[in-house]
Structures are given as structure tokens and as C-alpha cells.
Subunit: 223 residues, 2 copies
Amino acid sequence: MNPVSPARPQAKATVDPMSSQAAGTELPPTIQPRPRDAGATKARLLRAATEEFAEHGLAGARVDRIAERAGANKRLIYVYFGDKDRLFDAVVDDQARAVMAAVPLPDGDLAAFAAARFDYVLANPTVRRIAHWRAFERTEPTEDELAGYRIRLEAVAAAQREGRLRADIPAADLFALVMRMTESWLAAPTALWIVADGDPLAPERLAEHRQALLAAVRSVIVG
Amino acid sequence: MNPVSPARPQAKATVDPMSSQAAGTELPPTIQPRPRDAGATKARLLRAATEEFAEHGLAGARVDRIAERAGANKRLIYVYFGDKDRLFDAVVDDQARAVMAAVPLPDGDLAAFAAARFDYVLANPTVRRIAHWRAFERTEPTEDELAGYRIRLEAVAAAQREGRLRADIPAADLFALVMRMTESWLAAPTALWIVADGDPLAPERLAEHRQALLAAVRSVIVG
DNA sequence: ACGATGTAACTATCCAGTTAGATACATCAG
DNA sequence: CTGATGTATCTAACTGGATAGTTACATCGT
């Protein structure tokens, strides 16, 4: 690759920001060298990547920006995660696992599920953005994710058999409908938000929508 | 503009692919020069851009690929549309206008609206992808779009006043819910599709979901 | 002294946007 | 009808800046 570049000595002394007896008056003002902690650094990188990917998507995200946000060196991304794509996968898996854990489907109670999911997505906006970008850029769900959906679908089917949920709609369709409904306000087109005047994200407005959402879900699930 | 370029004679003869008495045996084998038609070229570019942006988003789309898909020269994108961003805007506007025209909300009949929207999105997959990418990358709805939503919202509100739609949910919320429901199957996570076995896009399956969707919408809109 | 952790500088590639034309077609002068 | 001239349409090749990924070291903890 780079056959002609034999060492570059003493370059160090000229730029080392740590050397205390540096020539100038420039005593480095409390640049703590940060205690080394691979786990913490990796976690900071994952967090930074989550924000960056949420904002810009896979293609729009910049590896340099991720390193900067994490206050870590770019190289570490390649050490810990491999490359940009696998970092994205790591972020996606992490987010998917977090939602699955935070929003269960107790006893196939889709109304409770809808409420929990609305609250979670409201509190964690990145989840929705990551999920959507993932759906477009890449596919390949993880085994964890499949298992999560399998459990939820079985819970819905059981509740249908026991008459607690309407049975004239397939379990998957019913679940997909309700899941989608939970995002209807937060994912609504900007134009709709503008036309429906008032701040769409004001706490009272969100509370009002939450009630509307739950009323609608209740209507759907009983038939 | 071009102060130092006085005429440019006979350069032509050296490369003219049309000159029938060209030296070599290389008779250009039916490379039709394509009749010049600015409108058609522009339309081909817009169509190609729509596909490219739908597949890759704004950041992921490649201007060179768009030109190639259109069978046109890259330069023409800059002549006709300005730059990549404005080409994206053109695509978004075009798609938004198309959906607005194709999916009306007659008399605030949300069930009919849901059916029409489901059918349209099914037949035009790019619309959904473009809309989603737009929501993330850029905002700024057009005046046409605002007007479209205003009309639809008023139709819903009117139907609510006349008792044809439930009135305990704000018009905007009800509309957002129904609109979102129409995409629940097509936008469902891959994992859900896999877990609910069978081909999710098979005609019979789609017909089944369509029925489920309409049943659910009917439940929602009456209360 | 050795592996794990960290850093700055570098490179090869890609890609949006530009330059400098070339070709088709219309119109008009002779 | 004929060639000259202007204009809209189209093209290949280039450029400068950005960006993913690498190299060659440095330093810490043990």
C-alpha cells in the first residue's frame, strides 16, 4: 500500500500536547487524559452513532462526526465495530432490543400495548427514526427481533381465541394496525401538523392525542 | 461568459459520427442519435430521479446513476433542475401532487379514503418511500400540500358535525390515524412479515388485509 | 515487556457540480 | 433553394472537496 514511508521519528516531541515542559507558555489547561475504559468508550461511540444515524440515516451519517460526538478517535470505531455498516447494525440491534424490552404485550392487551408504545416512542424519538431508516436501508431482522414478534403474535392469537380481542382480523394484521396507530401523530406529515393549528407537540395536545389514540384502539380491537 | 473562444470550425469533421464517408470500416451500427426533445428528457430525468431517490434517499442517491437511468447526460440535471436538492424537491412535489389527486376524501368518507389510499400506495410503492424520506431529510410542505390537507380536514370536521363520523376525537387525529392505518401492512417490519408466515404480498393475502383494514377503519370512525 | 487502548496524519476513492465544447434545428439573407 | 448564423439541446472529461478506511506510532495498566 505505502511502500515508501519509513518511520517518522521525533515528530512526536514537536506536537505532543502532553509533554509538560513544552517550549511555549502554553501549559495545556486541564486536558484530562481520560482514564482508559474500553467499555465506556464503546458505549459512548454507540450512543453517538445512534444520534448521528437517527438524524442523517446510514448514507448521510458521517463517521468523523460520530467520533467527534463521542469524544473518541475515529479509529476506535473500526476497532470496536468493524466498519460503518456494522456500526449501523449494532445501533439497530440495540434499539430494537430496547423497544422490545420496554414495550411488552401483556396477555395480548393491545390497548395497554398501544399506550406503552406511544409513551416510549414519545420519550425516545430516535427509536422511530432508526427503525424507519433501517426498514429502507437494510433488512435482515435479528433472531431476537423475530422471537419478540413471535411472542407478541401468539399473545394476540391467544387473546382472540379467548374472546378478549376480535377474531375477524388475522392476528398479524391486527397487531400491525395497532402498532402503526401508535405512531400516527408523531409521524404525521408536517403539512397536517401545520393545518391542524396549535403546537402539535405541546403536552396538553399530546395528552389529548393519547386519549384519542386509546379510544380508537379500543374501537378497533373489540370490533 | 466565454470571452476567449472565437468560433470553433472544422473540429467537427474529426469526430462527427454521422459523416457517412468516415475513414474506417466502423460504420456506426444504428446508434440512433435520439430526436431532441427537452420536455421528454426532463420527464425521463424526473422519473429516473424518483426511482433513485425512492431506493436510496437523498444522501444515498447518486446523480450519475440518475443520469444513467434516464439515458441522459448528467449536465442536463443541472440545466433543468438546478442541483441535487432541487431535483429531490421536484420529485417530492410531483409525488405529493399525484397522491393528492389520486386519493380524495369525498364527503369526509374516511372508509372510502382508506380503501383508495391502500390501493394507490399498493400500486405506487415509490410514493410511500419518497414521502418517508422526505419527512426525514427535509420539511417545508408546499402550498398545494397544505391546501390539500386543509380541504381534507374540513371534510372530516363537517362529517363529524353531521354525525357521520365520531366526534370525540379531533378531526386531525382521526385523519392521521386512518391515514396511518392504510400503510400498516405495507410498512410493517420485515420481522413481522416473516413471523406471520405466508407471502405477505401475495394477491390473496393483500385482499385479506384490505378487508381487515376496512373493517378496522369502520370500527374506528364510528366509535 | 506486552497487550489493550488510544491518537494524528495520511490515502485512495468517490461524487456533486463545472468547463468547454459539439450537434441539431430554426430562421433568415441572398 | 442554399448557406450562414443564432439558439436550444446535449455530451465527455475534468476538478476540488469530502469521506471511509489505514498506517504508524504513543502510552497506559498489569
